[in-house]
Symmetry: C2
Subunit: 434 residues, 2 copies
């Protein structure tokens, strides 16, 4: 058997600990699959001497000097599970330029500045793998960067944040409001003490950028992603969705479009949206993730599984470790970044979507005509109008056909100013075929 | 750009035609992704001069000499979409031994004698890719043979035959019997004139063998797979499933087990089974396919999409073509067959499963005691007993706990002989957590 492939592990929290455990438990299988044993050369942590439970690893392997560890001659592969932009970026660039392959779960870094990592990988002739950065254990990036390379992906629609999916599933199941559902999620450990990254959609936006880059062979960063969180989703919104045979999910959507000149574009966005219960994504409950891919020839595909947690993320990390270790032994490296298409990333206003709008209106003749006139002025076509249960006032529920988001937003702004509209009680985008 | 990678296409039916079309439509993208253009060197068909519609290809490329085409010096990659054992096996062995990489959709050949192909690939230093052989467009084999290589798969449960899923979905939706639903499937083009391969489970069994081989790093052939089709599933069975909150699917199941000596084993089987509506596979309707994978660290994963049809299958073929073409340019080949585990494949009798049994019994005291005694004698534990709506006679519906299939089958045989049991009206396995 070939000499061992030696790993530097950067970070030893929940995911890092599970990586160490799996390396230990599966060592014979991993060696058989790779053709050489895997060995941990060192583990960089912030503080030595912290209690790490019964981690099956020699305590002498721990170091507080990540750069020193990366530079060691006996380190072949660097596995980064620290997260964040710096100092992770500096470490990984150093490793890649030195020709050491990198496996990382760092979605924030890849979404903010993946280009720097890809360039460093190309420069050093090293592999850069990051399956764990999106949708945890679900094998998703490799299918996008390999399996579907004979096809033309038109749209990716994903539930890629477990925390918000747990909250929205709870709101749907119990009728609870956002605050109450968030509290439950926090108690059960599905939401962090500071849930901002999840509930405001930052985490999903980073993953959307990574997915869009792979699906459309175009560099897309987190800054390109239109982002809305779920903090303003109300129990009334959830009830409206139910009345429509829908549920509300926080979706990341990356879709091809066409600009005014006929050129191909991409739009990438994260926002809550109603989807029909008949859509495969509607059934994705609890903290599960799923990504729905549409391609010209393949049609509709879906990938489903656990998007977070130590063991699922460690599974994805180790899958990548096996791949880069095999490449190392074969003396090859994987296909590098594919960004040849360089499609233009267009702003949210040009995204094509549908709106579901609930209006509290005065109950008198001429109201519908006035409301319909606003839609017509913005060239937004109405699909259905429903008159809600009339109390003293009347409720109008309108679902539009597909239109540019800017036209829909302008319609809503004008509706708010209409004298006969007492309030716009709910505005939600609608995705998925009805 | 590098010189072209040249393909020999064997077969030009539905899938082959779509491969040709996609190669034409996506040629610029494919060339950018590979780093070299793809060219068709020749297309082997049975008869020249057949009308092939508006296929965008030079008619001079057609030949009736597949072996001659394969042997040509200017052929780099062989794409086989003919199917069947011979003459395909001879062609592919010839190609692989000559160092020409092979992309094939031939599930029957891989399941019957994959070993010969893998050995030829190793001998010739060539790639053997076959994503299209299972579950059409769904990227499934690459995740199994790469992404999950850092994990330990415990079970694979799949709906891998679109025809039978269409038939069972129709029976579930309309209450129709098997014959009527088959007729509808035939009319709509979901079933072939001779539906034997689908409805008797041969097609699913071939796919089960391929999945089991990859998931468990063990050579499994179609002959190792216990196979039951859906021809004996009745409208009454479907109604019984509904009453249990279940639906009936034709499942392929490959699961780890343990033999009497404590050694690891594998059991592979195809049969109809009840699964609870809460299981992700229960919602897979129409002719869609889905494969549910359970792994130690990753937990539950599901892959969903179209399992058949020209374009979806061609998408999978071309994804493989891109991979082997890239490997060819890089002068490398992919990891070869992984069969190091060599687990023992155990017979159906040792498979652990649950049974749902409906009995038509005499309505008199002591019946349940007699029936329960039979279960006890075979050490089968009863989970639930339900007394059906009593007509003149009584109906007993029994669901067992998990037990070896042989013990369950022996229990049913003895029940049939019991004086108080008028008939055993339905026996179905139950899969998935209730």
């Amino acid at each position: 058997m070939t000499s061992p492939v030696r790993l530097a592990l950067l970070g030893c929290g929940t995911v890092g600990g599970d990586v160490v455990r799996l390396l230990h438990e599966q060592s014979a299988d991993l060696a058989a699959r790779i053709g050489a044993p895997l060995e941990i050369a060192g583990i960089a942590v912030r503080r030595l001497g912290r209690d790490r439970g019964d981690l099956p690893v020699d305590p002498a392997l721990f170091t507080t000097d990540p750069l020193g560890l990366i530079k060691r001659d006996d380190v072949d592969v660097v596995v980064e599970v620290v997260g964040g932009i710096e100092p992770a970026r500096g470490w990984l660039v150093e490793a890649l330029r030195a020709g050491k392959s990198v496996v990382t779960a760092n979605k924030a870094l890849l979404a903010e500045d993946g280009a720097t990592l890809h360039d460093a990988a190309a420069e050093g002739g090293a592999d850069l793998y990051y399956e764990a950065s999106v949708a945890g254990a679900i094998p998703l990036l490799r299918p996008l960067r390999e399996s579907l390379h004979g096809d033309r992906i038109t749209r990716v629609t994903g539930i890629v944040n477990g925390t918000t999916n747990f909250i929205l599933s709870a709101m749907d199941a119990t009728g609870a409001g956002f605050a109450e559902a968030l509290e439950e999620a926090t108690e059960l450990g599905y939401a962090e003490a500071d849930p901002t990254a999840d509930v405001e959609g930052f985490d999903a936006a980073a993953k959307a950028a990574i997915l869009a880059s792979l699906a459309f062979h175009t560099r897309v960063t987190a800054a390109d992603v239109h982002r809305e969180g779920i903090t303003e989703v109300t129990a009334a919104d959830v009830a409206s969705a139910k009345a429509m045979g829908c549920t509300i999910k926080l979706l990341c959507i990356a879709a091809r479009g066409v600009d005014a000149a006929g050129g191909e574009t991409v739009n990438v966005r994260v926002h809550p949206a109603m989807i029909p219960l008949t859509h495969p994504l509607a059934r994705v409950g609890d903290a599960f993730n799923a990504v729905f891919v549409e391609a010209d020839a393949a049609g509709q595909l879906m990938f489903y599984g656990r998007g977070a947690g130590g063991a699922p993320t460690a599974s994805a990390v180790l899958g990548d470790v096996v791949a880069v270790a095999r490449n190392r032994i074969a003396g090859v490296h994987a296909a590098s970044e594919s960004a040849y298409a360089g499609l233009s990333v267009r702003p949210m206003g040009e995204a094509l979507t549908r709106y579901h709008i609930s209006l509290d209106v005065a109950d008198r003749p001429g109201v519908l005509a006035a409301v319909a006139g606003v839609f017509a002025r913005h060239e937004v076509s109405i699909a259905t109008v429903r008159q809600g249960p009339a109390g003293g006032d009347a409720e109008l529920v309108i679902v539009t056909h597909v239109a540019p988001d800017a036209a829909l937003a302008a319609t809503v702004r004008e509706l708010r100013g209409l004298e006969t509209v007492r309030s716009v009680t709910s505005v939600l985008r609608v995705e998925g075929d009805a």
